[in-house]
């Protein structure tokens, strides 16, 4: 098997003021989009800056196509890396036109080729008609596209995108991220995409790296991260609103809302925590009530209910928009997942997949 296209091994970078990077290891294969996601201050942008070469790591190694970019002895300056960057604030040169911005990285080429390449890039992002404009005359979405065209023009080996949609409004963001993903896939470009939005990460990434406090918590396929988070942080970050305590018994896990028939390799009697998403929880009026409805928020397609169990634990639960219950209504609450739930023992995921356990215990 070929080595990965871009690799980071145990990167570390400490700062007096900025978020630090304490242990970052991940890779991206050729043509893959790697989404790095985490809450603000988790070190994801710093990681990107290390890859771009704007900062020099204290420890660790970065390689591209097997070529060493950075370790304790070697440091390739950013201009020699052939890594394109799309900045969060776009960083368009205010003194240059759209055309000149895109042509900026092409100066070693004959004018004719430059012209052709710039037109090609502007065509690609659909802005050929704005070539003569200045950056301050563009809308947010247009600036974003110019920034992308500028980064792509010199045919970088890897493209880095730092929260590229964060300053756009919702509609535009959804539209642009689809556009950008299609474009990157069409070019078969290897890309690292940084975001704080888990939904955006799931959409953009072929692979995800979830970061917290400078450490990559989990690095895997989006589906796996979603369904098999390695620790409660990842589970919560990927949208699990509820943690349900349980006790291992021979048939599965005994919880306040009934027996979850899920086998775990733990001795009977062990205390565990189950991550349940709002869509994994159901309730109805049949049988003995084990909780009451606390509140309801109407979201159009669904109703989001908060229900309180008799123990005092509050869970979120979705119901279809036409199912309406008043506040204070006693209900029977049950698990309605249709899949195995993520289960944690002392803050570590309990799964059949031993690899996960390995990675977590090492981290």
């Amino acid at each position: 098997m070929n080595p990965p296209f871009l690799e980071c091994h145990h990167l570390e970078k400490a700062y007096p003021a900025q978020p630090a990077v304490r242990d970052v290891t991940f890779h991206a294969n050729e043509g893959e989009i790697l989404a790095v996601v985490g809450p603000s201050g988790c070190g994801k942008t710093t990681t990107l800056r290390l890859i771009a070469g704007f900062e020099r790591p204290d420890r660790g190694e970065i390689r591209m196509q097997g070529r060493l970019l950075s370790n304790e002895q070697t440091f390739v300056p950013p201009e020699k890396r052939q890594i394109g960057v799309v900045f969060q604030d776009y960083a368009l040169f205010p003194h240059l036109t759209v055309y000149e911005n895109v042509a900026f990285g092409l100066r070693r080429q004959p004018p004719q080729e430059v012209n052709q390449r710039v037109s090609e890039m502007l065509d690609l992002v659909g802005l050929i008609h704005l070539a003569k404009r200045m950056p301050h005359e563009l809308s947010g979405g247009e600036r974003q596209r110019v920034a992308l065209a500028r980064a792509l023009a010199p045919r970088p080996q890897v493209l880095l995108l730092d929260e590229p949609f964060s300053s756009l409004d919702m509609d535009l963001r959804l539209k642009l991220r689809e556009e950008v993903r299609r474009l990157l896939k069409g070019l078969q470009l290897t890309a690292v995409f940084v975001t704080h939005d888990q939904e955006e990460a799931l959409f953009m990434g072929d692979r995800l790296a979830v970061m917290n406090q400078g450490v990559v918590q989990q690095f895997d396929l989006p589906e796996r991260i979603f369904s098999q988070p390695v620790n409660p942080f990842v589970a919560e970050f990927m949208g699990n609103a509820n943690f349900l305590p349980g006790r291992v018994v021979s048939e599965g896990i005994e919880t306040e809302i009934g027996l979850i028939p899920q086998r775990v390799p733990l001795p009977a009697g062990s205390s565990v925590e189950l991550a349940v998403r709002a869509d994994d929880i159901g309730f109805d009026l049949n049988g003995a009530a084990n909780g009451v409805i606390l509140s309801r928020v109407f979201k159009g397609v669904i109703n989001v209910y908060k229900v309180r169990l008799h123990s005092g634990l509050v869970l979120e639960a979705f119901q279809p928009h036409y199912r309406y219950f008043p506040e204070g209504q006693p209900v029977r609450i049950f698990a309605d997942a249709g899949h195995d739930l993520a289960c944690f023992y002392n803050g570590i995921a309990v799964t059949v997949d031993e690899n996960h356990l390995d990675r977590v215990t090492k981290g």
Binding site: G53, P77, E79
Partner: protein, 541 residues
């Protein structure tokens, strides 16, 4: 009841609608006309000049004066540009040792009025000066290369003016966007190429505006060029005025100078707008460049500049001060000029600020063609060098109001023309910070325009009014050419005292007034900086 409602309604719309305060046009227009009368008269006088005067203007010497004035302005601009940019780059972008201290010290030569700087240089290098005394005593050297002329003037003015460029460049360099430079690096540019291709273009508008300010400073300067005996327009006008009976020639020279200054001013205004448009988005600290073994050289350059521009003048000043005390310089020698300066400056501050109010309010609250015209018109004093204003008033006074000629009133008139723009600047900045809705709220609560102004606007702009008055006061204290030409007989100020003492080579006598003026101009510089941060914060809101 109904009448009351109709009344408030009509008055309310009068207050908040564009019609509000229309009566202000009258005083504003009067001020604008008064400001321009003497200059218009100068133009009339010049255009009516006899053929001999025109012939005189077209002599070879005139072209020589143009060449010397413009040449001096350009060469000082170049020096200020080189010094200003490299020093600003050193203190903002590199790990220069002690960069914070340097950054605070480097703008300081600006507080030395140009003629004081010239006086200190001359008093050191000139015949009968400090250096020659020393050399003669110990080495028997009796002649030194002359400090007078182009090189001396160029050196002194460059050292006094590079802070304009330095401060402009420092402002841009310290808040410029890190990601722009990183973008260039990621697109294959080295650190040096990035500086040329990205950083410098960002600086260009600020640099152009800063160096044009330097150019204007040099063109308007009268004191330094006169003391250092380099004939530019201002000196030529003064000499012409003093020596000849037909003063039309001086008027013609003045016109040419005004035209050149206006050219510089227009360019400066244009560039300032270009600089303001430059959008700065996310501002992040830039990584400092390591100087390594260049550190020594860099510290050496900075030290040399400060040595020449700050330490040298202050030690010479200190020397003359002490020497004056030892020789028994009379305090009364500078007490009377001090009183003269303070009283003239105090009156000028009061009158100028009062006269600046109508135009300032109109230009902020009633943006329109007419108010803009009045504003531009009132800024006339900014385009006209002090010597020209003085000359215009001499003509005007002698021909129309001989009773007022050579009275304090005439001198005050000159000060108002010269410093009205300064007062307007402060007032406008503080008025801009008062949200219109505050005044409208007061109006809707039933206050008439005068009461709105008194109860809402004025309390809010009090700091701006105070700083306007202080600025005019302090700048008036430094004013030399108009005071020299227009002061009533027997009336002297600190500036004229220095001028007189230096022209007679009584260097010690000029020291105490010079020190007082340097202190005054330090305060005004502090006020100007303070004011720009205030108006800057209002822009961000």
């Amino acid at each position: 009841m109904l009448r009351e409602r109709v009344f408030t309604k009509r008055f309310g719309t009068f207050l908040s609608s564009p019609a509000r305060g229309a009566w202000l046009y009258l005083p504003a227009a009067l001020v604008a006309v008064a400001m321009s009368l003497p200059l218009v008269y100068l133009i009339v006088r010049a255009s009516a000049a006899g053929q001999s005067a025109w012939k005189w203007l077209l002599r070879v010497q005139t072209f020589q004066i143009v060449g010397q004035s413009v040449g001096l302005a350009l060469s000082v601009m170049l020096a200020a540009l080189l010094l200003g940019v490299s020093l600003a780059w050193l203190v903002t972008r590199t790990d220069l040792v002690g960069r914070r201290i340097w950054s605070a010290l480097l703008p300081l030569p600006l507080v030395i009025p140009s003629y004081v700087g010239a006086y200190l240089f001359v008093s050191f290098f000139a015949p009968r000066g400090l250096l020659q005394n020393l050399l003669e005593r110990w080495l028997g050297i009796e002649r030194l290369p002359s400090v007078y002329g182009f090189w001396g003037t160029w050196l002194v003015l460059s050292l006094m003016t590079y802070p304009y460029v330095f401060m402009a460049a420092r402002a841009v360099l310290s808040r410029s966007d890190r990601s722009l430079e990183e973008a260039a690096r990621s697109l294959g540019y080295s650190a040096l190429e990035t500086f040329w291709k990205v950083t410098l273009p960002q600086l260009r508008p600020a640099l152009a505006a800063g160096s044009l300010l330097v150019g204007l400073y040099v063109l308007r300067d009268f004191g330094a060029v006169s003391i250092l005996r380099f004939t530019t327009f201002t000196r030529a006008i003064y000499l012409q005025y003093q020596s000849s009976i037909d003063r039309s020639a001086a008027a013609l020279l003045s016109l040419v100078l005004i035209l050149i200054t206006i050219g510089f001013l227009i360019a400066e205004q244009r560039l300032r707008h270009a600089a303001a448009e430059n959008p700065h988005t996310a501002i992040q600290p830039v990584q400092l460049i390591r100087l390594g073994r260049w550190q020594v050289l860099a510290v050496g350059v900075v030290t040399l500049v400060l040595l020449l521009g700050l330490i040298f003048p202050s030690s010479v000043l200190l020397y003359w001060l002490i020497r004056g005390l030892l020789v028994g310089e009379q305090i009364s020698n500078w007490l009377r000029p001090l009183l003269g300066s303070v009283s003239a400056a105090g009156l000028a501050a009061l009158v100028t600020v009062l006269l600046a109010f109508p135009v300032s309010i109109l230009s902020i609250r009633r943006v329109g063609l007419f108010s803009k015209m009045l504003e531009k018109w009132s800024y006339l004093g900014y385009a006209v060098p002090g010597i020209v204003v003085a000359l215009a008033l001499v003509f005007f006074g002698a021909n129309f109001v001989p009773a007022l000629y050579q009275t304090l009133f005439m001198l005050l008139f000159a000060y108002v023309i010269l410093f009205l723009p300064q007062a307007m600047g402060s007032l406008q900045a503080s008025l801009r910070m008062v949200q219109r809705s505050l005044e409208e709220a007061a109006a809707s609560l039933g206050e008439n325009p005068l009461r709105v102004f008194q109860r809402v606007t004025l309390p809010l702009i009090t700091p701006g009014v105070a700083s306007a008055a202080a600025l005019v006061f302090l700048t008036t204290m430094k004013e030399l050419p108009a005071t020299l030409l227009l002061a009533p007989t027997g009336f002297s100020t600190l500036a004229t005292q220095i001028w007189g003492a230096v022209s007679e080579a009584y260097f010690a006598r000029a020291a105490a007034p010079a020190l007082i003026l340097i202190l005054a101009s330090s305060i005004s510089m502090y006020l100007i900086n303070h004011q720009t941060t205030l108006s800057g914060s209002s822009h961000r809101q």
